[in-house]
Amino acid sequence: MKKLKIFSRVIVLLCGLAMVPSNYLPVWQIQLEAPQYPEGLKMEIWSSKTAGDVDKINGLNHYIGMAIIEDANFPEFKIMPWLIWAMVALGVLTALIGRRFMLWIFSVYLIVCGVWGVYDFWHWEYEYGHNLDPHAAIKIPGMSYQPPLFGWKVLLNFTAGSFPDIGGWLIIAPAVVVVAILVYEQFIRKRLEK
């Protein structure tokens, strides 16, 4: 099996370590703006909990009959910290072993986690946005309240925005670099060394 260049191993190590803070910082954020909330409301999603203005958002959501957002509803919060620690461990291992197959494993793991994460997030957004209490005070035929997966969306008087938070960027950016290193090691390096 091909050995990785020292340069690649160092970068992969740094990428793995860069993910450590993601367990201690918000990973994703949902922002809400409305005429009555010029200062905005922000819900933070951490690897193990929700934070920010969740109580206020729950208070508002009761008008439209949305279920209460509470950490106990999400088994993901038990798993996600370990998924992130596994990323860190794979980064360190890849650097130590220094073989290309490890880099493949690491990259595939990152991509699988990413795809699963996006799907899982969308799934919960769909669930909360559609599963509404039929006795809600405000009922608008055909209206659902699924927040955007990424970007901005208008929901009644609120403009909702969904973006990675600092901890999310600390996974996304290193992941992109790791995959780029893989591309380099697998395809570009050979050509350059010819």
Binding site: K56, G59, H62, Y63
Partner: protein, 654 residues
């Protein structure tokens, strides 16, 4: 501007026509005194904020008004000494103890002089103190929440007017009696024995530097004249407080004549550090007393009132070095210390000059014993020995002076209805500007600090007359804003105020906003009858008392249907606002309540007592428009006949 030139032209033409028989044009009227750019100087665009907070005394309303400067917009009335049905202040079970005095429940007073707390002589935005003149008290308002958190009564005092002027690091707030009273035995003396038996007191109330909690440390027993206003020394004069005194004639009837006979009354200089030494040496006498100390606890959202039964009194006649009188022309009102602490200027209401005393000269006079005699055993320093100079022919009826950051004083003149600007060092008059009408106190933002904000002066007027649309015989009270950044003072704005704005203090807004509290944390709520979530809501009967542990959240009460209450019960609605967001108060009102409503802030618990007087079903509802479903926030209490067997029942939703 066009009208002025026309008027001037007309006068000029008229003057020519009568060829010198007319000496000059009539002085300009107010319209011409307003410069063209006044509007833009006071315009605070929608959504923008004022740069300064102004706290005005509510006078006979007993409250405090909060305004923005330069716009003059009113934001809030802070209930202090008077009941306020709008917020439930003094009506709710939690706040009733705040208005207790040794005379029982005291639902009104006359508030005069707001004082911002300070650190090293600069406003620190933590607390605002204010005096009650009628039933002598001092209150402390917390500027994180803009609510009154403490009120202490002052015993042995008639008319707490020279109050609560505070020292440069909040060591003390003071309270000196405007009306001297007899103190021996039970205080029952012939009024005609005023000269022999009536005495004044000066209370020194210590302020805890961390909590702001007040404690009456000692009282000085002083000669029986009227103590009017005061200022604490600062910087070089730190450790002293100066009081103006009138009625040194000791008249006890028809004072408007009797108290205006002497050419000179006094400034009383008090060395409070010396007084503290005597106190530490055990020189104080313990007098039996009865005075209330009321504290509102933010954790329990409940006030308690304690009656205190003794006070340490220092008789200044026995204790040399504490008090000195300085002669002062004539019936002085304001007694103001300049930003350096060196100059003390007094404003004799009937005087033709403004005397400016020098602190260092006063100290030298004390050292040299440059006394002209004594007054009731207190040494009187020679006028010239303490005097730095006089501002000559300043105007009529000088009342009060504040200072800018450039060495100038601004003195209000009630009779000639003007503000006069003068230089503190040279005593030279620099400018004068009319006020509309009959200014009392004035206020330069942080004008009693070591570093004033010399940008504006605010006139607090006593008469309004034709300045606003009329509202019957009782007109609005008013203040006026002047720009003092240039050589000439410039009138910018008239704005109405609540109550009578005796005095006001102002400071840069950010000094206050950094203490801002947006709501109370529900998790910290230690109220005896709190329900921190809807599951804890309940109704408990204890004999004739029914306690309703109620919650409110947009947009329902829990419980909102209650049965089993009987005529003659005392029903206590303990309403906890479960909201944890900014600007979401809930109100609570029930038909037939003989007191008021409740306005419950997020995270707070408040209690309304209700005694149903008849059988029936009584609606209750939220009074503060809280949400899109506010109008649905309502419920019922069923009241059955006394002794009926209707079971106790309560719920929200089916």
């Amino acid at each position: 501007m066009r009208t002025i030139s026309l008027k001037t032209a007309f006068c000029f033409a008229a003057g020519l026509a009568v060829a010198g028989t007319m000496s000059s044009c009539k002085p300009k009227k107010v319209e011409s005194a307003i410069a063209g750019n006044a509007a833009e100087k006071v315009y605070v665009a929608p959504g923008k904020k004022d740069e300064i907070y102004l706290f005005t005394s509510g006078g006979f309303s007993g409250q405090i008004g909060v305004y923005g400067i330069p716009s003059g917009r009113m934001f809030k009335q802070v209930p202090v000494f008077s009941q306020d049905a709008e917020t439930g202040w003094g009506f709710s079970e939690e706040t009733k103890p705040m208005l207790m005095t040794s005379h029982g429940f005291t639902p009104w007073d006359d508030s005069h002089h707001p004082q911002l707390s300070r650190t090293a002589g600069q406003a620190d935005g933590r607390w605002l103190f204010i005096n009650a003149n009628n039933t002598p008290r001092i209150a402390r308002v917390d500027l994180g929440v803009f609510k009154t958190r403490e009120i202490i009564e002052l015993p042995n005092c008639g008319g707490n007017h020279a109050s609560p002027f505070m020292t440069q690091d909040n060591e003390y707030v003071v309270g000196a009696s405007r009306f001297s009273v007899p103190h021996d035995k039970d205080g029952d003396a012939a009024i005609a024995d005023y000269k022999d038996k009536f005495k004044g007191t000066i209370s020194f109330v210590k302020v805890d530097p961390q909590t702001g909690r007040m404690n009456l440390n000692f009282q000085l027993l002083v000669p029986g004249v009227d103590y009017d206003l005061a200022r604490a020394g600062k910087a070089v004069s730190h450790g002293w407080v100066f009081f103006s005194c009138y009625n040194t004639e000791k008249a006890h009837t028809l004072l408007e004549v009797g108290a205006s006979q002497r050419d000179k009354d006094f400034i009383l200089a008090v060395n409070w550090k010396k007084a503290e030494e005597y106190l530490a040496q055990g020189k104080a006498k313990k007098w039996p007393a009865k005075y209330a100390h009321n504290v509102y606890d933010e954790a329990t959202h409940t006030a308690t009132s304690n009656m205190i039964t003794s006070v340490d009194v220092l008789d200044v006649i026995d204790l040399p070095g504490v008090c000195y009188y300085i002669p002062c022309p004539k019936s002085p009102h304001g007694c103001d210390v300049d930003p350096t602490g060196e100059y003390i200027c007094a404003s004799g209401k009937l005087a033709a000059v403004i005397p400016v005393y020098s602190f260092s000269k006063m100290m030298k006079a004390i050292e040299d014993k440059a006394f002209e005699g004594d007054f009731d055993g207190v040494p009187v320093i020679k006028y010239e020995a303490a005097l730095d100079g006089e501002v000559e022919k300043p105007g009529l009826g000088p009342l009060h002076t504040e200072f800018d950051d450039k060495g100038n004083g601004y003195t209000s003149f009630f009779v000639s209805s003007e503000i006069v600007k003068w230089n503190v060092k040279t005593k030279e008059i620099l400018d004068r500007v009319p006020t509309y009408y009959s200014i009392g106190h004035l206020c330069v933002p942080q004008g009693d600090n070591i570093k004033p904000m010399g940008k504006y002066v605010i006139a607090l007027n006593k008469i309004t007359k034709d300045r606003y649309l009329p509202t019957g015989p009782e007109l609005t009270q008013s203040a006026q804003l002047y720009d003092i950044t240039g050589d000439k003072m410039q009138l910018l704005l008239d704005f109405p105020t609540i109550g009578e704005p005796h005095y006001a203090q102002a400071c840069a807004a950010d000094i206050v906003t950094k203490h801002e509290v947006k709501f109370y944390k529900l998790a910290d709520n230690k109220h005896k009858y709190v329900a921190t979530n809807e599951k804890d809501a309940k109704v408990v009967r204890e004999g004739n008392n029914v306690h309703v542990y109620m919650t409110s959240i947009r947009s329902h009460f829990t419980p909102d249907n209650i049965e089993g209450v009987r005529v003659g019960d005392n029903v206590y609605f303990h309403v906890t606002n479960l909201e944890q967001d900014w600007d979401v108060p809930h109100g609570f009102a029930i038909k037939g309540a003989n007191n008021a409503e409740l306005l419950i802030l997020p995270g707070e618990t408040a209690t309304l007592k209700w005694v149903p007087d008849r059988v029936g079903v009584f609606p209750m509802y939220c009074t503060d428009f809280c949400s899109a479903l506010h109008q649905e926030m309502q419920g019922y209490v069923r009241v059955s006949a006394a002794g009926s067997s209707t079971p106790l029942k309560f719920y929200t939703g089916n």
